[in-house]
């Protein structure tokens, strides 16, 4: 255990998020030294596993019916709408991969990877002298299930991690591809006390890794190239600050949602402050808070004078995205409790700053017709408003020898933009709730059997109701019936890690 604890401390110092994650997940999840020669240490880390995953419930909802026309026996002439999240999984709601029944339900079974796919990691450390150590690490991730249930799709190796860390008395500098900071505490709570050895919410039916509680209140930091500095621990307090490769916020912007902001010239600063302290002989308390900010813009040719005779001119529309997250986790005897939340603009519910149709909605702008001089409100996707997102989740687990039993729940909330009250083209996303439970059994230090359940409950606001007046849709202040989706996932499998 002393070795393991040492490794844990080292992982924290190194600031290697996944390493830390694995180490805290379970004592056995440490790197295995393979060779030591001439001051070099070659090590490996990894895991392989498989789960049977059964899903059933509502498939992604069809848009509710528009207001009836004058003749109810005829198809309604009034406008139909899109349901937010239509562009794909990992945005909002859940879409089965072609498994929809004629009644809008689904029943699926798969053999798939869990929240962490198979991982093959190799690292090389070198003592630099003066108490400093260099650590180069590369990890290859790959799921076991074929993309889209297509047996012949290759399984692409995803090199999610590849970084060098310089660790010394000055702290740690990490450069390369790694976990960013925003959302770390949130995901750490889910990984350690929820779905580290499970599946949870299989957010993308076609292929994993799965999401656990992510998207349902938990935020996953994702992976990005960056340069990160972490201070040494001062009485358990540690500050991390880094800059990360900017992420453009681009998804097809239309009146159905989406954002056009792909100009991201500046690196994205992220920071975190954590406090970590033992509680008694076996207890532990960790607090964490993180933040990130990134300016985004779009340069598009626009008809600024509303005169088709003149040439469009390039116009830059500037916005910014940001997020804050934080939480705590406590270990006392057999008890594990963690809770975390996040809020921000443009973060999405899953990975910060990954754009989709849910990320924004069209702006509402007033336009004056140069001929009639009539002023009207128009929906302008080119200047899309970015939505705010919030989430909260809590995990509670009890560890009794080799067995761990836990429950968890969370909610991810999507903010509204001004056009939502008038945009009859879209039923905006409201919230998705996830309630789960798990049972893990550690057969040995390195082999874990897992059984978990997750219930997804996604809700939409409903599109503004509109009727055709003189051939033009006009909203009437009401909303169409709101869409909803309830689905269930039961997962059981095994993980072998080293």
């Amino acid at each position: 255990m002393a070795i393991v604890d040492s490794l844990k401390r080292r992982a924290a110092r190194v600031g290697s998020p996944l390493l830390a994650c694995f180490l805290w997940a379970h004592s056995a999840s440490a790197e295995v030294t393979l060779f030591e020669k001439n001051g070099w240490t070659f090590y490996t880390k990894g895991r392989v596993g498989a789960f049977v995953s059964v899903g059933f419930g509502d498939d992604f909802p069809e848009a509710t019916e528009p207001l009836p026309g004058a003749d109810p026996s005829m198809p309604s002439p009034n406008p139909t709408h899109f349901v937010a999240g239509y562009s794909g999984n990992g945005t909002f709601g859940w879409q089965s991969d072609y498994q929809r029944t004629t009644t809008g339900k689904f029943f699926t079974t798969r053999v798939r990877s869990g929240t962490i796919t198979n991982v093959l990691g190799f690292g090389l450390k070198k003592d630099l002298g003066g108490g400093a150590t260099a650590n180069g690490y590369i990890a290859i991730w790959a799921p076991i299930e074929s993309f889209g249930r297509d047996k012949w799709k290759p399984i692409d190796a995803d090199v999610r991690e590849g970084y060098v860390g310089i660790d010394g008395t000055f702290g740690t500098v990490t450069a390369g591809r790694m976990w960013p900071l925003l959302g770390r505490t949130s995901y750490e709570v889910d990984f350690l006390y929820g779905h580290g050895y499970g599946v949870g919410f299989p957010c993308v039916d076609a292929q994993g890794p799965t999401c656990g509680q992510v998207g349902l209140g938990a935020l996953h930091p994702g992976y990005a190239a960056g340069i990160l500095y972490t201070t040494p621990s001062f009485a358990g307090l540690r500050l991390s600050a880094g800059v990360f490769d900017p992420a453009r916020l681009l998804s097809a912007a239309s009146t159905h949602g989406g954002v056009p902001y792909q100009r991201v010239p500046f690196l994205r600063p992220e920071g975190s402050l954590t406090f970590d302290t033992p509680l008694g002989a076996t207890g532990k308390l960790k607090l964490g808070a993180e933040g990130a900010f990134q300016p985004v813009s779009a340069v598009q040719d626009e008809d600024t004078d509303q005169n088709p005779a003149t040439e469009a001119v390039p116009v830059e529309t500037s916005k910014s995205v940001w997020g804050v997250s934080g939480g705590f986790r406590v270990e006392l005897g057999p008890l594990r409790v963690g809770a975390a939340g996040f809020t921000g603009k443009g973060t999405g519910l899953y990975n910060p700053f990954v754009a989709s149709d849910v990320t924004g909605g069209p702006a509402i702008e007033q336009r004056t017709d140069p001929v009639t001089l009539l002023t009207t409100n128009v929906l302008e996707p080119a200047h899309a408003e970015i939505r705010s997102f919030s989430g909260f989740h809590a995990q509670l687990a009890g560890v009794f020898g080799s067995a761990e039993v836990g429950v968890g729940g969370g909610i991810g909330i999507v903010g509204r933009v001004p056009s939502d009250d008038q945009n009859y083209n879209l039923s905006p996303a409201k919230q998705q709730i996830g309630l789960g439970a798990h049972f893990n059994y550690h057969v040995t230090e390195n082999v874990v059997l897992g059984l978990d359940y997750m219930r997804l409950m996604a809700r939409w606001y409903g599109a503004p109701a509109a009727v055709l007046v003189n051939g033009q849709p006009v909203t009437n202040g009401q909303r169409l019936a709101a869409e909803k989706q309830d689905a269930n996932f039961i997962n059981a499998g095994v993980t072998y890690h080293w």
Binding site: A50, T109, N118, L120, D150, P154, G493
Partner: protein, 502 residues
């Protein structure tokens, strides 16, 4: 237009088949090389790298016979239509047809490699098994039970489509945890399937383990096929939970539940896990004798997706079907002699591997699954470091009634489509084991394809000689006896290269 649509659909599906061919290959040589043993862990590697010069020559893809022309009579007037100069116009006497595989990469129809209906190609490429980097971690769970985690990274040496700039992707074909003890074994994760394993194993061991055989895809980017597709049913790779019993008097049963597979464009709903199984018997006799017999099975339920347009749906008789297959055979070793025989039969299997996702599996209009049968014989003689191999195999697809006799207002595939009938392969090879880890190989493969041919047909004409039509305006087609042309394609491949494995 119909031909164009069919061609595009086929070409698109062949994009998937292109991937398929590469994914059938046999297991890599399973010689685990321990790299470190520390703290109860054994870290090992296995793998191989190799390259072959491959020369192919033979027929280009067969051309469809264009329809004869007849005078174009206006049905309204009964008069011949004329162009602006007053010259009479003509029209097709029957519909055009497409040939299965039209546009496929391995034939390069109309492509730069085809010259006067012949092909000659040279490539440097990977063989039957690509380049593999495999790593594993083993340790004892108990005194008698071990646990092993293994990840295998596969790649090839040739650039896809001869595009030198193409990015090489790594295909993580294998990634599993396995437990082995006196009670048997459990494997959870991605590995070689059970159905087709014996014939794949036979091809690997006695045929093309260190060779190339049939390249399958000229475009490259994937390992080649050896004898797979010409009698060998490739096992493919998939995610599964597999239990293997201990060997009892030489018998071993393996049963697995596999991640279900969609038949893209045909049967999109696959809700239930796919069971596969193998019952094998192994026995050694004498000092050098060995016999292995095996029988295998596969089944998967399939349902239509809900994304089918009503017009298409009306032509599909069933909403639910299943793929099934049985396979079996044996291999025999005594002294220098190696002999393997195998066969397979089943519905919806495909020529190359079970659930191979290509249009040979089903009628594109009615979605009915075709039945496939294959036989394969592979012999070898081993004299010290030298192995001489000879193999032959054939796979065939049975025609559906809608492939050959049904022609009505809603479908007339017999007149519009020439389905693939048979793929036959003859092979020979010489392999020289320079050292335990280095093998030089020279092999030859003759690949013979045969099609059923589109049915003879004609547009029904009225008394004035004008085409007649159904109420919806579509032309009435009558089938005639016989086929237009039962196309054939013969190709030869000579391959030579080297494999280093560990």
């Amino acid at each position: 237009m119909r031909i164009d649509r069919n061609s595009r659909a086929l070409a698109a599906r062949f994009g998937r088949l292109l991937l398929a061919f590469g994914l059938l290959a046999a297991p890599s040589a399973r010689a685990e090389t321990p790299l470190a043993e520390v703290g109860g862990w054994t870290f090992f590697t296995d793998g191989r790298v190799g390259a072959f010069a491959s020369t192919g020559f033979g027929d280009g893809f067969p051309e469809a016979v264009p329809p004869p022309r007849i005078p174009d009579i206006d049905p309204a007037t009964g008069m011949a239509r004329t162009d602006a100069t007053g010259a009479p116009l003509t029209t097709d006497a029957r519909p055009g047809y497409s040939i299965y595989g039209d546009g496929a990469g391995w034939t390069v129809k109309g492509g730069p490699l085809e010259n006067n209906g012949k092909l000659f190609t040279m490539r440097v490429r990977s063989g039957f098994v690509g380049s593999i980097f495999g790593f594993g971690m083993k340790r004892n769970l108990t005194e008698t039970t071990t646990v092993k985690g293994y990840v295998g990274l596969w790649s090839v040496v040739e650039a896809t489509n001869r595009d030198k700039r193409a990015t090489y992707t790594t295909d993580v074909r294998q990634g599993y945890v396995s437990f082995d003890g006196p009670w048997g074994g459990i494997l959870a994760g991605r590995d070689l399937g059970l159905y087709g394993r014996l014939s794949t194993e036979t091809d690997f061991l006695y045929g093309h383990g260190y060779g190339l055989g049939l390249p399958c895809m000229d475009a490259g980017g994937n390992p080649t096929c050896g004898h797979v597709g010409t009698g060998v049913m490739g096992a493919g790779f998939g995610a599964a939970f597999v239990y293997s019993t201990p060997q009892l008097a030489g018998f071993q049963l393996k049963v697995g539940l596999y991640d279900p597979v969609r038949i893209l464009g045909g049967w999109d709903r696959a809700a239930l896990l796919r069971p596969e199984g193998q019952l094998a018997f192994e026995k050694k006799f004498g000092e050098t004798g060995f016999v292995k017999l095996a029988a295998e099975g596969i089944w998967q339920q399939l349902k239509l997706g809900t994304n089918i347009l009503p017009d298409e749906l009306a032509k599909i008789p069933d909403r639910e079907t299943s793929i099934w297959g049985v396979a079996g055979g044996g291999r025999f070793e005594y002294g220098p002699v190696r002999l393997g025989l195998s066969g397979f039969h089943g519905r919806g299997l495909g020529f190359f591997t079970a659930l191979q996702n290509d249009p040979s599996m089903f009628n594109l209009v009615t979605r009915e699954l075709r039945t496939f049968t294959g036989y394969y014989a592979q012999g070898a003689l081993v004299f010290g470091p030298v192995q001489l191999s000879l193999g032959a195999g054939t796979a065939s697809a049975a025609q559906l009634e809608t492939d050959k006799n049904v022609c009505n207002q809603t479908l007339c595939e017999p007149a519009r489509f020439s389905a693939l009938r048979r793929q036959t392969g003859l092979s020979g090879g010489v392999f020289y084991t320079v050292s335990k880890n280095l093998v030089i190989g020279l092999d030859y493969f003759r690949f013979m394809m045969g099609w059923y041919g589109a049915r003879n047909s004609h547009y029904r004409l009225n008394a004035a000689g004008a085409k007649t039509a159904y109420a919806d305006g579509s032309d009435i087609i009558d089938l005639d006896p016989g086929v237009i042309k039962a196309d054939e394609l013969d190709m030869n491949y000579v391959n030579a290269g080297v494999t280093f494995h560990w």
